[in-house]
Symmetry: C2
Subunit: 345 residues, 2 copies
C-alpha cells in the first residue's frame, strides 16, 4: 500500500512550489502554460487525486449531499419510488462530482438531529427533504440551521428554500374523468399517509373533480402505503354492500395488494373491478392484468431535485439571478393498461 501522492510530491517532481501546483491543477492564473502542462502531466503520471478532507478543510465545502429517509427497511425495500429517486439524484450528483450520503432514520426528531450533526460536521453541503408533510417541522428547522435544502415535493407555503414538485391536481382530474367516462360511479380511493402534503393535494383535487362530475359517493381511506394495509382496506371496500366498481390506489404497492385481494375474492379485473395505481413502476407490469397507472419519471425527478440543490448550494448569494425557487416538474401521465375497463351493468 504505497503512500498517497500529494501536491507536495508533485511540486518536488516538477521542481516548483506547492502553490504553483495548486494553481496549475485548479486552472487558475499564476503559472505559465508550459509549467501548467508539465505539472498536469506529472500529476497524471503519478496518479494524483486530491485528498477530499484537505480540500474540504480549506474551502469548507464537503462536496457531498445528504439524504435522510424516514421509512422502515421493509417499506423502503418494496417501494420502487425511493430507489428510483436515489438513482436519479445520484446520477446528477456524481456528474457534478458530489457524493451522496445516506441515512435511514426512525423519527422526525432523529432526522433533524442528523441534519444538525451533518451540518455542524460539515459532512454535507445540503440536503434533500423527502416526504414533505402538511405541517412540517423540518422545514423551519433546516432553514434556521442555515443548511441549504431542497424539498422533494411541494409547493411549500412560505418556503424558505426551493422545492421541486409536480402538479397532482391535473392527473387526479384525468383519472376521475377517465373512470367516469368508463361508466364508473362508485369509485373508492386508497390514499397514502394523511399527513403528507401531496396526499392532501390529491384529496382536494379529487374532491373538486368529483363534485364537478356529480360523483358524490367517493370514499377515501388513508393508508401507510404498505401492502398489508392496502390489502386490508381493499378487502373491506370489496366486502361492503355497495362495493366500488373502481379503486384508485395512491401507490403501486397497495395497488398490487388490492389486485391480489380481488383475485382472492374471485372478483375479475377489470370486469368486476377497475384498478388504477399511482407511480407506475415495473411492479405494475408484473401483474396480470397489468395495472393502469400514472406514469412519471421518478429517476428524472430525482435528477431535477439534485440539480436544484446543487444550484442552491453552488453560486455564492452575490449572483444576479435569484435561484429558481420551486421548480415544477411535468405532471404524471395516465397509462391505461388491462386493469381498467367499462363499469359492469
Amino acid at each position: 500500500m504505497t503512500r498517497r501522492v500529494t501536491i507536495a510530491d508533485i511540486a518536488t517532481a516538477a521542481g516548483v512550489s506547492k502553490g504553483a501546483v495548486s494553481y496549475a491543477l485548479n486552472g487558475r492564473p499564476g503559472v505559465s502554460e508550459a509549467t501548467r502542462a508539465k505539472i498536469l502531466a506529472i500529476a497524471e503520471e503519478m496518479g494524483f487525486v486530491p485528498n477530499r478532507a484537505a480540500r474540504s478543510l480549506s474551502v469548507s465545502t464537503a462536496q457531498a449531499v445528504g439524504l435522510a429517509l424516514r421509512r422502515s427497511a421493509r417499506t423502503l425495500g418494496i417501494e420502487p419510488y425511493f430507489m428510483e429517486l436515489i438513482s436519479g439524484i445520484e446520477a446528477t450528483l456524481s456528474a457534478g462530482s458530489y457524493g451522496l450520503t445516506l441515512q435511514i432514520v426512525d423519527t422526525v426528531e432523529e432526522e433533524m438531529e442528523v441534519y444538525r450533526r451533518w451540518w455542524a460536521e460539515r459532512r454535507v453541503d445540503g440536503v434533500l427533504l423527502c416526504d414533505v408533510g402538511i405541517e412540517d417541522r423540518r422545514l423551519d428547522f433546516v432553514a434556521d440551521l442555515g443548511l441549504p435544502a431542497v424539498a422533494v415535493g411541494g409547493p411549500v407555503a412560505g418556503a424558505r428554500f426551493p422545492a421541486v414538485w409536480h402538479d397532482d391536481a391535473e392527473p387526479c382530474r384525468e383519472i376521475l374523468e377517465y373512470l367516469h367516462a368508463l361508466g364508473h360511479r362508485r369509485i373508492a380511493r386508497v390514499a397514502g399517509f394523511a399527513h403528507l402534503l401531496h396526499t392532501a393535494q390529491r384529496d382536494a383535487a379529487y374532491a373538486e373533480t368529483a363534485a364537478e362530475l356529480g360523483l358524490d359517493g367517493m370514499t377515501t381511506v388513508h393508508s401507510d402505503y404498505t401492502g398489508e394495509q392496502g390489502a386490508r382496506i381493499t378487502r373491506r371496500l370489496l366486502s361492503s354492500a355497495k362495493r366500488p366498481t373502481a379503486i384508485i390506489f395512491d401507490n403501486d404497492v397497495t395497488a398490487v395488494a388490492g389486485l391480489g385481494v380481488a383475485h382472492e375474492l374471485g372478483i375479475a379485473v377489470p370486469d368486476g373491478l377497475s384498478i388504477v395505481a399511482w407511480d407506475d413502476s415495473p411492479l405494475c407490469r408484473l401483474t396480470h392484468p397489468a395495472l393502469t397507472s400514472l406514469t412519471r419519471d421518478i429517476t428524472a425527478y430525482g435528477s431535477q431535485c439534485a440539480e436544484a440543490l446543487l444550484a442552491h448550494i453552488g453560486p455564492p448569494p452575490a449572483s444576479g439571478e435569484a435561484p429558481a425557487f420551486s421548480v415544477q416538474f411535468r405532471p404524471a401521465q395516465l397509462s391505461p393498461r388491462g386493469s381498467t375497463g367499462p363499469a359492469r351493468g
Copy 2:
C-alpha cells in the same frame, strides 16, 4: 448563520489551550478530571461538533464506508433486496458513527474507477462488494489497491479479504425435496445472472439434489432478474409440450411476474402450477396466492456485512486475534404459502 464552534473557541472559553481541549474531548489522559469536566460542559453548552474534514485530515480516516451498486435504476427500484440490504448496512454504520456513501454505476470498469477514486481521495475507509461473480476482477483490484473490503456473498476462493455469505446448498435441497414430496417431477428453474457466484452455487446444489432424487428433467434458464425476462421465460416454459408442474424462481420479482403469466394463461396456482420464490420480501405476500418463498433476513445480513467491514477496517493489524474471515450467515428458511401444492394427476 453563526460561525461554527471550534476547539479553539472552547479553549478560549475554558481558559486552556487547544491541546487540552482535544485531550479532554477524546477521553485521553493529559488533563485533570476537574478540567475535563469543565471543558466537556463548555463544549456541550456551546454545541460543539468536531469538523469531520479536520479530523479526517489529521487521523487520515474518513469515517465512511462506500457502496457502489452496478444495477440499473429500474432494477434497483423494484428489487427489495438492495434497499433492505442498505438499510441493514446503514443501521450498523450509524451506530458506529460511520457514514454510508452510495454510488450507482453502469459497468465494472466504472465501479473499479469509483473505488480507486474513493480510496485515493480517502473518501471512504472501506467498501462492500455486492453481486460477487464467479470470475470477479474487482476482488484482486480492490485488494491490490489496499482498500479494505468485504464481499457480500461467497465464499470467495483465495479471498484476500473477508466475505459474509450464507450456504445456499441446504435451502436448494430443502426446496427440491419439498416439491418432490408434493409429487412434482417436472420442475423448472428461472435462475439469476449466470455469472454470479451464488447462481453457480445454486446451479450445483440443485443438480446434485436432482440427481439424488432421480429428477432428470429439471431445466434451468438464466435471467437478468427483471420481471420482463421472468415473464418471458415463464411463458415459454408453460407453453412447451411437457410443461413443468413447478417452477423455482431465483428472486421475488421474476416469481411475481411468473405468477402473472400463469394467470394470463389461465393456469391455476397452485393446482396447475406450483411456484417457489427466493428472497421472501413483502412482495411475496402481496399476490394471490401468496408465494411460497425462501426467507432470509436481508436487513440483518446487511448489518452483519457492515460489522465485518468495520472489524476489518477497525483495529490496526497488530491485534492478536485475526479478523474473522468469511463469516457465514444463517441459511434461508422455506416459508410455505399458497403458491405450492400437490402435483396434479
